[in-house]
């Protein structure tokens, strides 16, 4: 059997004022509250009100991605390591994650509607088996190697917008 390629997927989940589900709303409101608190460190003269201005004019403000992210990691724990939204062709969530990166896209101390964040979920390793039309066929990378004649369980799915193949080896 030839060596299978191992890939990881990255889902960049965008959360803004119009996201309706309960989890997204909690991430939205708590990250905005944290942005208002932590941005004061980089805005001691209160000269700026947008994240864009802080990044551009205030040295060190890029740390706000990391600092504001601390407000929402407890919500990540509530996901039970399952990447949200992304489903296989059976309509089941099938991607697991341990790694993430929080991103502030935009925000404004004076207008919560401008607050827009992204949660980047990086999947655990998957074997890339085949591309069938628009679908990818993958299987989970398990610790125990398959024995001769044993079945390998697979997932079939389409890559929607905001999901990408992040890495390959």
């Amino acid at each position: 059997m030839t060596a299978k390629k191992i890939i990881t997927l990255r889902y960049r989940k965008i959360i803004g004022i119009n996201n309706n589900n309960a989890w997204d709303k909690l991430v939205f409101t708590d990250s905005y509250k944290e942005f208002k608190m932590q941005s004061q460190l980089y805005n001691q003269e209160k000269k700026y009100h947008t994240f864009g201005e802080l990044i551009h004019f205030s040295p060190g403000a890029e740390k706000l991605h990391f600092l504001v992210g601390g407000a929402i990691t407890n919500y990540l724990k509530q996901l039970g390591e399952v990447i949200p939204d992304i489903t296989n062709n059976l309509g089941l969530h099938f991607l697991k994650f341990k790694h993430f990166r929080f991103e502030l896209i935009n925000s404004d101390l004076q207008d919560i509607e401008k607050h827009l964040v992204a949660l980047n979920f990086y999947s655990e390793d998957l074997y890339f088996l085949e591309q069938i039309g628009p679908y990818l066929l993958t299987s989970k990378v398990d610790a125990a190697p398959l024995k001769e004649g044993e079945e390998e369980f697979t997932d079939l799915f389409i890559i929607p917008p905001y999901l990408t193949i992040h890495s390959i080896k």
Partner: protein, 296 residues
């Protein structure tokens, strides 16, 4: 070339959401080692197959438009319909719940759950060690109100953060494109609210040091509404028998250490109001006490 290394990739749709003209101008295969080339070849080949199909579809579509003498606005409208991006905010505008994607994929079809519950920021905890090794440090910080005779300030939010035994902060390596395990990413950072005595207590490790700075702990004090009252730093006493001397810079030693009098933050603190009282030993752990007064 290390073959086990992850190689970053990009995947993208052929129909640009903004309907700008997108074409393949040229592509070439990189000349690397055979195994690596094989990976790239098969991926590129898949992409090339897909592209050629799509390009033919698009050509036929354009030809049919020309034959049918379709007007330019018709094409522009078709573009608008296929767009998934709302330019004003950059989020998808598909009116479906659950998924923020708009391509033709099966919607989640599962038993409802998990049920999200309101949770505090991960900073809110008394023990901020997160598995970092070092000598135990209990930090007791009392916040007073400098606008009220330094009386204890209850209900103030106190953030602290400091470096680990090697002199590294948790944010190092997190400002770029790197991903991190969310379980322990914000180590040695904490948030507590002062009690009726103005006191907050943190359990941590004695900080290490890094070039150019004396040992210190950062503090940011907010009022209960989250408005910043003070950004400051706590300094440590020095000299024979002090905690700084006992810890002795962990594995680094003290060669090249910056003492308070040469520290660019603490050197102007001639009365020592930023210097905490620190007692204890490496075996029993250290206890730090300080009162900080802020205008509330």
């Amino acid at each position: 070339m290390e073959l086990n290394r992850y190689l970053p990739n990009h995947i993208f749709p052929l129909t640009n959401p903004h309907c700008k003209n997108l074409s393949i101008q040229h592509y070439h295969l990189p000349t690397q080692q055979p195994q690596f080339t094989a990976i790239q070849t098969s991926l590129t080949q898949n992409l090339a197959n897909l592209l050629s199909t799509k390009i033919m579809e698009r050509k036929n579509f354009l030809r049919s438009l020309l034959i049918g003498a379709a007007s330019t606005p018709a094409i522009l409208n078709a573009c608008k319909k296929s767009s998934v991006i709302d330019d004003s905010v950059g989020v998808t505008t598909t009116p479906t719940g659950g998924s923020s994607t708009s391509s033709c994929v099966v919607a989640p079809t599962e038993t409802e759950g998990p049920f999200p519950t309101k949770s505090p920021a991960s900073y809110v905890r008394s023990d901020i060690t997160d598995g970092r090794s070092g000598y135990k440090l209990t930090a007791k910080i009392v916040i007073g109100n400098s606008n009220n005779g330094c009386a204890a300030l209850a209900g103030a939010i106190v953030d602290i953060w400091h470096c680990d035994a090697e002199g590294n902060y948790s944010e190092y390596g997190n400002t770029s494109m790197q991903s991190t395990n969310y379980q322990s990413v914000h180590f040695l950072r904490g948030r507590q609210t002062t009690d009726s005595n103005g006191l907050v207590t943190f359990t941590s490790i004695f900080p290490g040091w890094y070039s150019g700075r004396a040992t210190h702990i950062h503090v940011h004090v907010y009022n209960a509404a989250g408005t910043s009252l003070k950004v400051t730093q706590i300094a440590f006493p020095e000299g024979s028998g002090s905690a700084v001397a006992l810890v002795n810079g962990y594995s680094k030693g003290m060669s090249g250490y910056t003492y308070n009098k040469n520290d660019n933050v603490f050197s102007d603190d001639t009365t020592g109001i930023q210097i905490a009282t620190v007692s204890g030993s490496t075996s029993a752990g250290f206890v730090l006490n300080i009162q900080l007064s802020v205008p509330a």
